[in-house]
Symmetry: D2
Subunit: 362 residues, 4 copies
């Protein structure tokens, strides 16, 4: 199976480099009969897009999705859906001087060590530009999950460097460029980011993502666990260095009597587990968190070496996000959607849509 | 692909329930010509085994590995290697009363919701007994990685509830039943565990695991990243709720100038990334951490419901670990070994053993 | 994915050598709730077994199946089902002298060229003994297909060397050791085989296999076509050199006006296609044929070389089938069952059990 | 894994409908450092192209390949290579009247039964137009196989209806529009096809394909056999109803003493096996044959039903091949190339490029 594919039954294969002619994906396994139009990709792509505010990269991409296959008269047909986005705002010259140099903290060195060759323009395949196609593919998954199962997936920025939300309101999240859940802090964040950008440095972040409406029973023991697949999917996002399900690393100091989610006749009384037990969904909200490292593309000079093995000092110009975590919210949602979609199909493959399985409890 | 299989080229398929007749695995894709004998499984299985000290489950299993195939005259032949361990210390009667009840914090409820049927004896397939076979399969992987690439994988308990190591010595780790890296604290841990067991409660833990000697270039963009596969593999271990690579969640508050690992002519000067950039190994030590929840099998009564939907109080008797994290060290090592082995083979498939790729550094 | 596994969702992994301690398989993805007992494997294993008549190998294996996992109180649970059969009638000494020699027409040479090592006892992994586990796994598939969809799979010997059936009666097939559809010819076949065995030679055969009751819609474009998967599955049977679907090679000289299956209001009027169009089942009988080569294990001396590269003359003693095609009938049925089972699950994954798809015909 | 993908390590995913905006593919797993340019796709695409002579479909497609990713400065980089071809000569109106009708012998009915919806324009996804991308992807595989292993893959038309070649000359094959190996017969074939086209009917064909230079050792037991994978790959070609390896169905009447390929010190003395024993290449020429049915798109009216279940008479206008087998030669070569490429990588994954395995014989 292609290493640029994800999902066993709802399989998304992405391709494309940051500054190549185009990026795209092939979505295979989508059930037939789902209405989908090119306009529907707009919203999530805009949420992910660079250039949305002065706090993210200023690269301006139209991100116009062309549906090349798999949709007939506005409806999916069951055949592979290819989506294509032309790159329009390449500036390869920004990257000319790094072709001979390994930027510290970047994949330059590892791609070169692996392949003996690399596309240096904007990081090539290792650029977060690739995540555009994840978001696009997930538009299809999100729609099917919502229509068929009432699943709703959403995320927010849970930490911007050392700044934590002082309150929580889902409605606030989409009203500011930070996906921040507490509006009164937005101005503070603006100042924080302005200062950061001025300093030429970057900072890390935490993103929380969750899914409501997931029925119990999705996920497969042992190596196809829902949390295992979520971990792989979320860790595959650029810059992610940690993944948590439910209480995550807080469980280290918890006691069993405190952590276990008890049940009453009307359901669970808590959700420390994050909606997954034994790798299978409980019917509660599925909760995950990710830690994103500060981008290594900063204006502060760093030590590195060049292809000749000589020491060099690297300053990464170009158009970069001082906090890549900000735009990671829709990407994290996308990865959760892709994993859930895949498991929805896997579950009905083994256990049927309806009847083989008839558990008696809510 | 089977959901009970892991690895694309070094593929391990496990089977078996906690209290069924046997557990086993099939290891496919092992290179031919590796010497392997049944005795070689002993050490790591003993490290993982229950009953090693009074601080873990008192179930006594001989864990005798029988090699059923794939080895001829002491050497692997390239055909699938089947390993079998008979269960000998089943006590199904311990579990008779939970067949009608969902233990809080366990997979009882989710298996039943998914399949409409479950093997209640000791958690059936969801039991950590399954991890025995991961450790067994990894014995093969560890040996090949060591012989062929000089890779060495080892782990330790990095947090037992709120207790953190006050010092660090690799040599200490194998000299105490906690895999604890600081010997002077062992007595304290004994007392801590005795008190915990007495209270009928359990506690979480953190395990660190690392691999030395991994050459640069292992891992595949984008959905076969080394860290993505590690995340899936580690999250699939029972009770794990969080996975970190390198600095993990600490990156949230780091700045780029602090996080990025700079390079000099003789290599990297730090390893915040945990030996992986862009999903590909850097040649540094590969570092990962996991958070393990406190087991839900405790003597303190908990609220739940039974199959009839009635409220019940559950006390989990049987033989359980008050801290499942203790025995997780060899399991975490095993999962890292399986992932690295798979990527070693994947790398040489695409990039060749020798010549296609000749990077010049370092 | 393991090369010793077959099936995407109903995944069967086999292991074991002809003269190793045991052979076995792991069946993953079986729906829960299917009643299955060890006795149910008896009939098909007996049909495949050696020693059934004097016309097949005289190796006597009890072929007692032990269910190691995945079945609880007589019902599948959705977890992997491991089946084990101990080898009991090994005679490794029969093969001592071929360890240094490559038998012509056998896999001895290719295994050795690939792996640099081989298990010479009875062909090791390349022996048809492995097909025992395919038949065992298919017992589960056949039962589910029959219970859930009314699918019935059966085969017969359609050519024994130059001898063709002079009549056809399904009932006759199971009443003679040749799976021959015309009883009056059975005595003739006995004589044919006796003479063949006496001559120390072997002969080829053709087996036809078909499935009734397959609903329309199973199979996936483009590389998961039902006929493509059948071709792979049937070609993977030892000694098979050709596979046909429907009219097979007869289509070469057919005209379109003759080949195409026309439709009337009550269905198709012919079945040249063999029940598959565009890789997807039509609802008609699915028909396939295979050609099996004459076994190369014969008493007539043949030229070959040994490990030292010297010329040798090889006479293959041991217990061999003069026509391996005879016992291939249940194996061909098994492979068809495994492929159909897999596609049954794949179809409901993408298209649902019930409602997403509601074609109106017929 | 996507059903529109083929290959485990050299993975080709195709997309696109006959009359959609474009067709394309993603090639993942290609080794880095292979020189490849857009012009190199020209020759094989021309060989496959429609409109090459009056004996094939008159659809004129430019088939201009655009490389969207995975190639940097003329060299593969190890990342996925996306290839795109815009459809330019769509004539959807040709197909307007069949949207309500199931053409006999076509996938119309089965796609509709499976998905409840279908793209009727030119057969949509089931059209042989998809094979364009197989040929394109195989250009890459062929080049790598030739450069690295000296493998040469070629095919020819071995039967056009009842007409068989009366002589054989590889050089002739590329000098006539039939891929016919005996030039003196070409005029006869022209007449044969003219008469056929005039009659409004079509005819079947047989194509032979072979690979020279395949080293011994490619192919994996048991379900990843080289012949099993070839069977799947070749059967997946539109209109193929039979696949043979080596002597194919002729083995049915052969005796073992006749079929087995004996060995002398300088190699094999015959090649009945078609270069594969036990699923693994012997080092001889790998030989396969396919049977292609006569296209069902003919001008002779046929009985069918429409979406309302009413009887209709169908005449398939549009631009069709009276013998689809003619253009199948480059497609069969392509599928053999893709399978061999995949197994080349799989072999070095398990057995290494060089050293683990050192068999001593030629």
């Amino acid at each position: 199976m292609s290493s640029n594919s994800t999902g066993k039954l709802f399989t998304v294969t992405t391709f494309g480099e940051s500054h190549g002619p185009a990026i795209g994906c092939v979505v295979d396994g989508c059930p037939p009969g789902l209405a989908i139009a090119e306009e529907e990709f707009r919203m999530d792509l805009d949420r992910r897009a660079t250039g949305r505010s002065r706090h993210t990269s200023q690269r301006k991409e139209a991100d116009e999705v062309e549906i090349l296959s798999g949709v007939y008269e506005g409806s999916t047909t069951g055949t592979p859906i290819a989506l294509l986005i032309r790159n329009t705002d390449q500036r390869s010259k920004d990257y000319g001087d790094i072709a001979q140099t390994f930027r510290p903290g970047h994949a330059d060195y590892t791609y070169w060590q692996k392949y003996g060759i690399r596309d240096p323009r904007g990081g090539g395949r290792s650029s977060a530009r690739e995540t555009t196609m994840r978001v696009a593919a997930a538009v299809i998954a999100k729609k099917w999950l919502a229509e068929r199962h009432g699943v709703r997936i959403r995320g927010y920025l849970a930490r911007l460097g050392e700044v934590a939300p002082q309150g929580f309101d889902w409605d606030a999240v989409e009203r500011n460029p930070f996906f921040w859940p507490h509006e009164p802090q937005v101005q503070q964040l603006e100042k924080y980011m302005d200062a950061l950008r001025k300093s030429g440095d970057s900072v890390g972040a935490r993103v929380n993502v969750e899914a409501e409406g997931v029925p119990p029973g999705w996920g497969e023991p042992i190596y196809g666990k829902l949390d295992g697949d979520l971990a792989a999917a979320l860790m595959s996002i650029n810059a992610v260095k940690g993944v948590e399900i439910g209480d995550g690393f807080e469980v280290v100091t918890q006691h069993g009597s405190q952590h276990r989610d008890e049940m009453h006749m009307d359901g669970f009384t808590s959700n420390h587990a994050g909606g997954i037990l034994g790798g299978i969904s409980t019917g509660q909200v599925v909760r995950a968190s990710i830690a994103l490292k500060p981008t290594s593309s900063i204006l502060i000079p760093g030590h590195s070496v060049n292809l000749a093995g000589e020491p060099v000092e690297v300053v990464t110009k170009g158009r970069h996000d001082p906090c890549v975590g900000i735009r990671a919210t829709p990407i994290a949602e996308a990865m959760m959607a892709l994993v859930l979609m895949d498991h929805a199909l896997r579950h009905r493959a083994q256990c049927g849509d309806v009847g083989e399985i008839k558990p008696r409890l809510p």
